[in-house]
């Protein structure tokens, strides 16, 4: 956040959002659907970036927050008959509460220990989902009936099976999270978080309760991850333990690192990049994971700070 960068902070976000809004009219159905998914998962990545990229909290357990939202929304709609908007918010709340609870304990640790503690908690949540399989159906998961997945405004009923509605709901959620990310980074809180990442004890000597700020960062992060999970459950009608497994804690880390740690746009870029990497590679060859692997390695070598991060650096280099 240099002074010069404060010129037109909202320009890039607006361009990006307008492009996304326009994209739905030109994209073929398949990519239309893909972008919907990418935006939903980008929210997960944004959430992760808030903790990792802003406050320097490297968690290996974010799958538990995504799962909290997924199950919070899915089960409240499935068993308690929550309406779709209510279930969605409830999912976010679950992510938030879990993040608070986990944070109170896990944030006593730092660095690698924090990685492990979050990893273990997440594992425990995963096993717990299996343990209560009577309700969760464990790994197999369950489907949300179409009657549940509707928006009612008095007489008019909108079904979430409609791709256009789905796209724009995803876009709305993404836009909100994206702008929140940008705003937070420029807010006083954001300034503290960034400083926190660099030198925590110095921030304390300025009179800030750093534990509180780390907890705050983790909570917002958990809430966004939860909302992303809730959106997935309601938009794509499936709730399953796979999403609580370790690889879904690694994905957001991977997406953020690919896109650019601590950048506002990085999460979307990283998520999209990874999605299409797999999609295209798997069309060329059945051994597509080799292609994916090689590309990941090359990306790291070419874009050491992630795509957006490295480009930004190059750009600054050009200007000064």
């Amino acid at each position: 956040m240099t002074g010069r960068k404060q010129d037109r902070p909202w320009r890039t976000p607006m361009i990006v959002l307008v492009l996304l809004l326009a994209a739905q009219f030109v994209l073929p159905a398949y990519h239309h659907g893909n972008l919907t998914r990418i935006m939903v998962f980008a929210v997960f990545a944004i959430g992760y970036n808030l903790a990792f990229g802003y406050a320097g909290l490297l968690s290996l357990g974010h799958a538990m927050f995504f799962a909290a939202g997924l199950y919070g929304a899915g089960m409240s709609a499935h068993f308690l008959g929550f309406s779709m908007p209510l279930a969605f918010l409830f999912g976010g709340l679950c992510g938030l509460v879990l993040a608070l609870a986990v944070g109170l304990v896990a944030l006593r640790t730092r660095g690698v220990s924090f990685m492990i503690v979050t990893l273990m908690f997440s594992q425990a949540i995963f096993l717990t989902i299996l343990y209560f399989n009577e309700f969760t159906r464990g790994d197999e998961g369950f489907v949300l009936a179409q009657e549940i997945r509707q928006l009612r405004f008095g007489e008019t009923v909108l079904s979430l099976t409609d791709p256009t509605l789905r796209y724009n709901l995803a876009l709305g959620l993404f836009a909100a999270s994206y702008l929140l990310g940008v705003a937070l980074l420029r807010s006083p809180i954001g300034r503290v978080l960034v400083a926190l990442r660099e030198n925590e004890s110095r921030v304390q000597m300025l009179g800030y309760n750093t534990f509180g700020y780390r907890l705050l960062a983790l909570s917002i992060s958990g809430a966004l991850s939860g909302l992303s999970g809730a959106a997935y459950a309601l938009l794509f009608a499936y709730v399953g333990a796979t999403f609580a497994a370790t690889q879904y804690s690694i994905y957001p880390l991977l997406w953020v690192l690919l896109g650019g740690v601590g950048t506002a746009l990085g999460p979307l870029i990283g998520t999209g990049l990874m999605f299409y990497l797999v999609d295209f590679a798997s069309e060329i060859t059945s051994s597509y994971l080799i292609v994916v692997g090689v590309v990941l390695v090359l990306l790291v070598i070419v874009f050491p700070k992630g795509v957006i991060g490295t480009l930004q650096e190059k750009w600054r280099g050009l200007r000064s």
Binding site: A29, N133, G141, Y238, A281, S287
Partner: protein, 443 residues
Amino acid sequence: MTGKSDDHRKVRKVGDSAFGVSRRAAIKGAGALAGVAAAASLTGFTARAHSGSDAPIRIGFQVHRTGIGAAYGRWYERTSRAAVDYINETGGIGGHPIELVIEDDGTDPKRGAEVVEKFATQHKVDFVFGTLFSHVVIGSAPRAGELKMPYFVVSEGHHVASGKLNRYVFQPGITDVRQQVISMAPWITSNLGKKIAMIFPDFAFGHDHRDFFSAAAGSLGGEITTLLPIPPTESSFTKYFAKIPSSTEVIYHVMVGPAVLTFVKEMGEFFGNNRPELFGFIDSLEAVDIASPGLDYLEGSYFWEAMPRYADGLPTAAAAFYRDKVGVDANGASMSDSKDVATFSHMFGCWETLYVIKAAVEQSGYRSGKDKVALIETLENMKWFNEGIAHPQGGKQFVGQIHQSFGRQFISKVENKRLKVVHTTTIEDGLYEPEADYTKQAL
């Protein structure tokens, strides 16, 4: 045919060869693949619809090429290719050739749903089929329903029959867990013993076994001495066997995943010679050589089989013909590599499902996507699939309300490191009251 779809075919060929029998050749080609990437990314934005009267029936094959299901996926793919080739040799479906469009779902429910979407909106296929693992089926089913895409799974899960999926999902080519389990119960309780300990994976597949078998055995005077659900993250099992009370007469085990061999071996080491009777589901040993080191003590134990792995277990012409077409030898291994053991009790489902699709298309006069409703209604009204080349595993009764087939099951004993069929159930043994009625759902 347009140039685009032309080079797209080339593109797919590369992918296919990489999974053919000569896998080493494939990796050499891997270098060339990079170049093809460009081509693919170009075609990436062009739908693959064909048109015209000679148009092939395009069937999307959702296969587990990677991930935990890969061992099954490879044989599902071989079986499906064999079936498609033979159907096309013999006049295709009502004169139209089948074109198989293959996508890997990585045995992941998220990717599974995306793949179904891709089949519908990008490849513009007529049907999707072939999914095995339950979580992928359940993750993909909603999208199939929303896209009104007939979705034929080969999963043996109870999900379709339970009625919790939707009207577009069918399982006509393979029997479901519930009927398998209840048709086993009488033979077990009357031949092996009534005091039974159950060991099963602690997830849905295992719980279906737990619930349905406990109920069935109970009604036959059996007693479940202990239930041991094993967490999927576990890689060593000996410590759990200690929990089995010594009064136990039969251990009923059904494990899946790469650790099953360990499980079976450790069970042997633990109980030694004075072991209770063992009854297992062959899922534990699919794609595994019975003669593998450490399995010796399985000698004299019993397994459920959906289709006998060893040719002499089901000496019908149809079964032999099927075995030969798929390229499986008399011992249930690949003809080209005796170490490459088939998933014989599951993969026949692909072959039979493709024939069910053929039948449904021909009887309903299906021509294009707009005839899907007719196709589904026709299929729901089918009652019986006759044993023969189309159904080498055996005749099947199809229950339209729950979109599920019912068939016979086999019980085999391990003798001289081979599986020898000792009992064959009837379709009636596995029948149960339909739990739902899909035909009442809107299309």
